[in-house]
Amino acid sequence: MSESDSEEIEYQYSDDSDSDAEETAAPQEDSGDEERKEESKDEKPNPLKTPSGKHTNANPNAPPTGSSRFSLSPDYSSPSSSTEDPRLVPSSSLKGEMLNVLEEIIEMLSIPEEAAGALMRCFKWNKEKLIASYFDDPERCLQKAGVLKRVRMLEDRQDASAPTKTSRPLTPSRTSPRTATRSTPLPPSSPLPQTCLICCDDDLTPSEMYSMPCSHSFCCDCWSGFLGNKIDEGPSCVYAKCPQAGCEEIVSGEEVKAMAPSKISQWDKYELRSFVDLNKNTRWCPGTDCTMVAITKAGVGDVKCSCGTSFCVKCGEEPHTPVVCKDLSLWLEKCQNESETANWILANTKKCPKCATRIEKNQGCNHMVCQQCKHEFCWICVQPWEDHGANTGGYYKCNKFSDKSNSDDQSDAAKAQRELDRYLHYYQRYHAHSQAQKFAKKQLQQTEQRMVQLQDGSAHTSWIDVQFLKTATEQLVECRRVLKYTYTFAYYLDPSDKTGKKERFEHHQEMLEKFTENLSELSEQSLDKMDRTGVVNMTRVVDRFVKNLCKYVEDGMEIED
């Protein structure tokens, strides 16, 4: 709150100093295009605004002063948006979210809303990139996004006609942000019948024709068919270009509203979908059938959706501290690729590579003989045993799995096997905690029932008094999840690291393992033996430990103080 207070004071000052000069100038603002837009936003000309276009104002989100509703991007200044990051919004408020982002661009570049939308899509909603590119070469930037004519035509029109006669192409008022009225096509210079290049009808009146700002005219029926066709093709419709061959001007909601009004809701849906999909600061909740969207300013963070799904806003996976998104994705891909190997290692049975009969390994020898088809193969690599002769280096190359110490062998096969062992070491533990996490989740569901029982057992306990058990079990789920990812994290630590980082990390990991097992044991006690104080204390200890470990990693794993 104190922050916005000071902002307000700052603003108040500039108000006082600038108001005289600007206010007298306001009524004749017509000559300055850039100034005009502000006027349209409010009934009252805004006296505060420094010339727009490139406001280097350090604080574009400053709240309005007094009763004036003016601010450069009104919704950004609302306190609700700054409280949480990331935050979750229902898909019904996506449009407002999108318009908030667009308004800033509209103001800054003095362009119509449709152009701002296409530009942002072109730059994947990366505002900084767009602005950099725009100020580097506006012409090229607008061309690339397919809005050159849309923007230039607006400018020409503003230059040519009096503002009272020209309907403003954008009126970013808060109440109805999309009330932008589209200008009718330029009046025909001659009353001659016109030809539509799509349907070849050559007897059309000018009023039956329509064109985008690039002024390629087609008849309204063809426009309607063209737009309907594009929208039916799916989400890519937001990239549709003018029907004229070679014209790069992009279609917008303006044309859809005018020529295919029955499709506008579908168009809007695709537009919002593209807003979320392209934007690296937004993500759909991955929960089944969930339509919530996570929005982030920082671009990172974990959220818990009302549907119960928790996810990392950057990659959409389950929250995965201490592993970074990139390593997690590598890891998951590796697990996918190695899944057969890993499953075979984890299991004691394998399928005969020839007839698929399950074979159990119940002795140390790796030379397997299928009882069913008599196929002979190697347990480790599942290749035919006959390949394990002297010409392939003998079957010892397959014994490397158990012979972990033989690092003198620098053959590719030996290196690959050592690497696989290393992977399997981490994978086995990752897998174990993953299983334990699933178990803890189930336990959490049962806890509510246990809570009822515990409450019934003592006449004086309230629901609040037994809340500790639920908290403990939730903590347990969290511990298993973090532990699981510590093994992914450790796998990607440099094995040859000599700074001791790895050892220190493993020490933390081991402690967390220990505490987690303790908590697990305590909270799984039968109800009559439940040590409430013990559980509460251990929950607290473990909670702190998890946080410390994550912070330790975040801080680069330097020696703690």
């Binding site: 799509i198 349907c199 070849c200 087609f218 066709n229 029907p243 004229q244 070679g246």
Partner: protein
């Protein structure tokens, strides 16, 4: 058939017949006015010179919102045409515009014969030859033209690509 044929197709057809493009003929089949038999003469001073290449052109029901479907029936050695006669041409795909016409499509195909584009190949083998040994590619194209696209030079109609 003709009663529900869009005005645009009728007009395009009339113009194709009344005012044909030099070196190109396109005639609709009487039993299906959306289906055209096309013949394109190989441009002079190319490996396809003196050849006449048969193609089929079909206007799908979405036409002109969707591009026409065109295919070579005569075998041709060209990096942008595959063994089935399919053509790699941007305006037949993502660059299609409903303001384009059969006429423009056929002109573009004719232009493709004059200027093969091995950098955007449909047949990788042919394109590789084209890039590594252009004179050999041109020679092969000439031989194929003589064998398949010149009357009396080839082994006859059996030679045409079979519609699968």
């Amino acid at each position: 058939m003709a009663d529900n044929l869009p005005r645009r197709i009728v007009k395009e057809t009339q113009r194709l017949i009344a005012d044909p493009v030099p070196g190109i003929s396109a005639t609709p089949y009487t039993d299906n006015l959306r289906y055209f038999g096309v013949a394109i003469e190989g441009p002079a001073e190319t490996s396809y010179a003196n050849g006449v290449f048969q193609l089929e052109l079909f206007l799908p029901s979405e036409y002109p919102m969707s591009p026409p479907k065109v295919r070579f029936l005569t075998r041709i050695y060209h990096p942008n045409v595959d063994k089935l006669g399919r053509i790699c041409l941007d305006i037949l795909k993502d660059k299609w515009s409903p303001a384009l016409q059969i006429r423009t499509v056929l002109l573009s195909i004719q232009a493709l014969l004059s200027a093969p584009n091995p950098d955007d190949p449909l047949d990788n083998d042919v394109a590789a030859v084209w890039k590594n040994d252009e004179s050999k590619a041109l020679q092969l194209a000439k031989e194929w033209t003589r064998a398949h696209a010149i009357q009396g030079g080839g082994k006859g109609a059996d030679d045409a690509i079979v519609i699968d």
